[in-house]
């Protein structure tokens, strides 16, 4: 299998899906000639032209709103939000319209829009180029929210999103865009929504992490291994609907769990995962479900490194769970 970066995998998948299906198009700020500020859509305009690789005016609500209209009339728009931090002007269109159209119309109308947004920290982007807003959308009924941590999953999730019947938000861990390389299956490769992945098996503790926290989790598992603790790392890939069965089975085996994410702790998705685990694995739990997360502050600039979870902080939480 060929190797590719996460960014390359997304780029290639967009290319393949557009070549496969003339209804697929991409739209957003600077996605055309510029190829997006991260170059994810580079070259697509040369191949597919400006009617299907659409540079839009600067208005995220307009972009998502227009995409909804396209999708309900037969197109398969893939929207790029330049940074996940700028998704909020589209919040009303996503929450009030995109998430609810199928339900309120009893299925008469649907809007299978894909929204892609680079998210997370690690690039010294400060308060407005580093956020991880996934929890807002997980709390919004009607959406599918996914985040890949490998090039193969990036391809598989994006392809599933483009072909699927429902709106999908795909948060792309920008810190991994060019730092992670891996094999990407050629041809059709679909990762179904709602199926997690065991990144590394282990017997002593279940560590749930997604996006750029998956490599952090693996490093923490290495640290723990040095202390004799065997960690099972799970990447849910789809955050919602969640593969709770996979997590449940794991925690029932290990008896201990830690959730790891970049977003601020309070009401982050870690809270939901923690709540679900204790609801389902109560009698097997030997320690409280731990959380390693971003702090409840805006995302800082100078102190980014202190803000972000890292292998050491994670190892600490693991130790706390083991020694409880």
């Amino acid at each position: 299998m060929p190797q590719a970066t996460l960014l390359q995998a997304i780029h290639d998948t967009l290319h393949e899906e557009m070549a496969r299906d003339p209804r697929v198009l991409v739209m957003g700020e600077d996605v055309g000639r510029e190829g997006g500020v991260f170059r994810v859509t580079e070259g697509l305009i040369d191949r597919f032209g400006p009617d299907r690789v659409i540079d839009t005016p600067l208005n995220e609500g307009g972009i998502v709103g227009m995409a909804i209209g396209m999708a309900l009339n037969g197109l398969r728009p893939v929207v790029e939000i330049e940074f996940a931090d700028f998704i909020y002007p589209a919040f009303d269109q996503i929450v009030s319209e995109l998430a609810k159209l199928r339900y309120r119309s009893a299925g008469l109308f649907t809007a299978p829009v894909v929204v892609r947004a680079p998210s997370g920290g690690g690039i010294k982007g400060g308060a407005y180029h580093s956020q991880s807003p996934e929890a807002y959308f997980i709390h919004t009924a009607g959406l599918t929210v996914a985040m890949p941590s490998t090039p193969a999953d990036a391809k598989g999730l994006l392809a599933s999103a483009v072909r699927g019947p429902d709106p999908v938000l795909l948060f792309e861990p920008k810190a991994l865009y060019r730092t992670v390389k891996g094999e990407v299956p050629e041809g059709e490769h679909l990762v179904p929504f709602g199926k997690g992945r065991i990144v590394r098996p282990g017997e002593d503790l279940t560590l749930v992490a997604w996006g750029a926290m998956v490599p952090v989790a693996s490093m923490a598992a290495d640290l723990a291994a040095a202390e004799g603790v065997r960690i099972e790392v799970i990447d849910p890939r789809t955050l919602w609907p969640l593969d709770i069965a996979l997590i449940e089975e794991s925690v029932n085996r290990t008896g201990r769990a830690v959730v790891l994410h970049e977003a601020p702790r309070t009401c982050g998705f870690g809270a939901e995962v923690s709540a679900l685990i204790q609801e389902r694995c109560f009698l097997r739990l030997k320690a409280p479900v731990g959380r390693v997360t971003g702090y409840d502050t805006p995302f800082p600039y100078a102190l980014e490194k202190s803000y972000l979870p890292d292998p050491e902080k994670t190892a600490c939480a693991v130790r706390a769970a083991m020694e409880f």
């Binding site: 307009g62 009303d92 109308f109």
Partner: protein
Amino acid sequence: MNGLSMIAAMLPDGTVDPANDPGLSDGDLLAVHGKMTLLRALDEKGIALQRSGRIGFYVPSTGQEACAVGAGFRLREGDWLFPSYRDHGLALTRGYPLSTLVAQLFGNRSDATRGRQMPNHWCDRNIHLVSVSSPVATQLPHAVGTAYASKLRGEPVAAITTFGDGGTSTGDFHAAMNFAGVFRTPTVFLCENNQYAISVHVTRQTASKSLAVKAQAYGIPGIRVDGNDVLAVCKVVGDALALARSGGGPTLIEAVTYRMGPHSTSDDPTVYRSEEEVEQWRKGDPIRRYAAFLKKRGLLDDEAEDTAQAEAKEAVRQAVSDAEISPPVPVESLFEDVYEEMPRHLAEQRDGLLSGKG
């Protein structure tokens, strides 16, 4: 097309300004009257149903029938409709079955959308009537995207969206108009300026000289029309639709009209406007004006008018009694249509509710 002068068609002497004549046949002229009459009858019934507790809510369009019917009359198969909650008339004129419409008010098993929304949140796949939602003006960008899709496929159809004076203040109005201008989508923006956004007068909504002039901010034509003159509305909307279908891009139309009734059944307009003001506008009641015009033309007399009203009432009564007897929607439908396939967590929640465990 400076967005300031007002276009009218029906002249006081009973003739039509040739420049603004939509060129309807006598049969069509009467059909327009029939739809307006039906709409008025529906509103009266809707309010009565709410007052007597048989439905939960209703939004009348009384006073704005010329906008809805004049515009709706020019819609064709294939066109897309993105109306506001107040524009059932547009859909009804285009062919939304009265029975489907009335069933929606009851939100029971006969409602094609399974009781999912409050009354006045219409939806119909056949006529491309896209599910209305409550947030003001969110449908405008959809009308741009849908029109873009039609254009991309080379279909000669248009998308029309209607909204109020208040709607022009929203971010979605700005985005949609601007995108439509840039992408030259076949979208007709019909703003029904009924002078009020609930209690807020249009002069407090914006300081612009008219709403139609706002089109200049987006490089698209802006037209101001007498919204109580059904022929003028029919003409300008027809022209805008034709322009759109033939690749000429979007148009903003401001139809100047008046909301003669309350904002909705929850509203008491006497708090914020005077009876004199309402009386003044009532004199320009679009149905009365149009009936007078038809009478001058010899197409209508008092008797025919009475018959039309009686028929409209009867049609509405029948639709209501058909819809009302339908049973409530089944409880398990609460969990359906969130996604195409029901995910595990919703199945669990459904089972919890059905088993009485919550």
